[in-house]
Amino acid sequence: MRKFFPVEELARDSRFNQVTMRDRMADPRSALVKDEPRQKSNRLVPSRPDASAAARGLMHGIFVGEIQALEGAGRTCHDFRTAGDSARRAQDDSHGEDSFADTVPFALKLDMARQAWDEARHVEISVKLSDWMGSEIGEFAENTVLFQAACSTDPILRLAGVNRALEGLAIDVFTTMKEFGDLAGDPYLEFCEDWMLADEVTHVKMGSDWLRRVTEHDPDRRKKALEFQSVVDKLFSYGGTRSDSQESPIGLARRFRELAGFTDDEVEDIAEVSLAALEERKASVARMQATAREFAAS
């Protein structure tokens, strides 16, 4: 088995359809792209006219995201060796793949294995919830950008990108879905989201703790990891899907992020990036609408 696994080769059965992030956001069922007059709030709440379809779409996004998170955690168990693993080192040497950055503490690998189990449960939960909400596997497309963040050859960058940026986003998503379940009078949904939320806080905390511990004496590596996290945060703020603004379908779960080890400054940075992404997308939509009007008038 290869040491690093390319995102293009993620194995799926025939029901799955993989697309890019841009394609997914252009899906007419996506929350911000609408032909009807603009609503005051895009937040995913049961009173939204398209709440049912939007919630099903989000749940499908959670489902495929959990599969990729499971795959990413599993790959981190496999791709990096512990410092004392001389047999693996000899094997890596023979393939010309050995480097210092490939070693991780044994306990970090154990945490990643634990995360793999958690993500496997999340796949189980979200597949059952999707069924409960009336949708099926493959009804919405899958974009594989989450796994891409798990493809870094530096384990610390993986932790920053996946555990802090993406699992951080999961905290926001599950908080929004939990509130949706509460408002919709769906205790089944609220119950499940609350359990998954607890796991996500744990995963983000794992990422925060390992990032600090492993880079304690390596400020350059820490800086690089935090920069990578910002890139992933920005990528996942694409289109302003998640921000403090009511115009975003998903809110920023500040309290749970603090529990997971984010500092106040870090939460503020993510809030700013998210709002900027929302404004960027609104400007882009306005430009497209103006072009369409000019075309219609000509």
Partner: protein
Amino acid sequence: MADPYKPRAPFAPWDRRELPGLFDVEESARRIGNYKWAEMKLFEALGGWVATVPELDVKMRLGTHCYKHAWHAELWHKRLPELREMNPERLTQPANDAMVRFVEAMTEPEAPEQTIEKLVGVYRVFIPHFIAAYTFHKNNTSQITDAPTIRSLQFILQDEFDDWCDGEMLIQSLIETPEEIDRASAHQARLEKLMVEAGGIAGPGSIGGAGAGGAA
């Protein structure tokens, strides 16, 4: 009420645990170091394979089982310093070169069409050998002096039996044609030969016989 000061036998009549065991401290630590290494290789393989299998149910089971074997490795990692090995990495080693070759061969299948081979290697060869080595250890170590190892072995064996059953059922559900039976059998035979060469998870003597070692 019975007199609380009346002398009682230190071992109740139903407690038939024995003091002698087959392994001394060093031998027990050596075996546990081999177990830890093998459990590590197993959880790494299961984690790595998750992305390579298209079958959703298999994908989820591999993720779940990955953690169980990581936990077993953790239990053995914690046991080693209790057996006077203060640097657990020193004993976290394969039993021999044949065991390394076994793991390399087991982890070789990667293509999405090779789920049967992946599962056969783990659930028809590796895990049955874990069960054998652990059962031998549990039944032959001192029931009193090595009770902490026995306790871990009991938890771990329960996991191994559960996972063995899960894996075997997945394999049976995937094999539908005579050609697939041949594929499964050929891969199992190839790996079993390497495992026999290795002598089992802890090398020769893993389930007794030559090289069982230790003090009685």
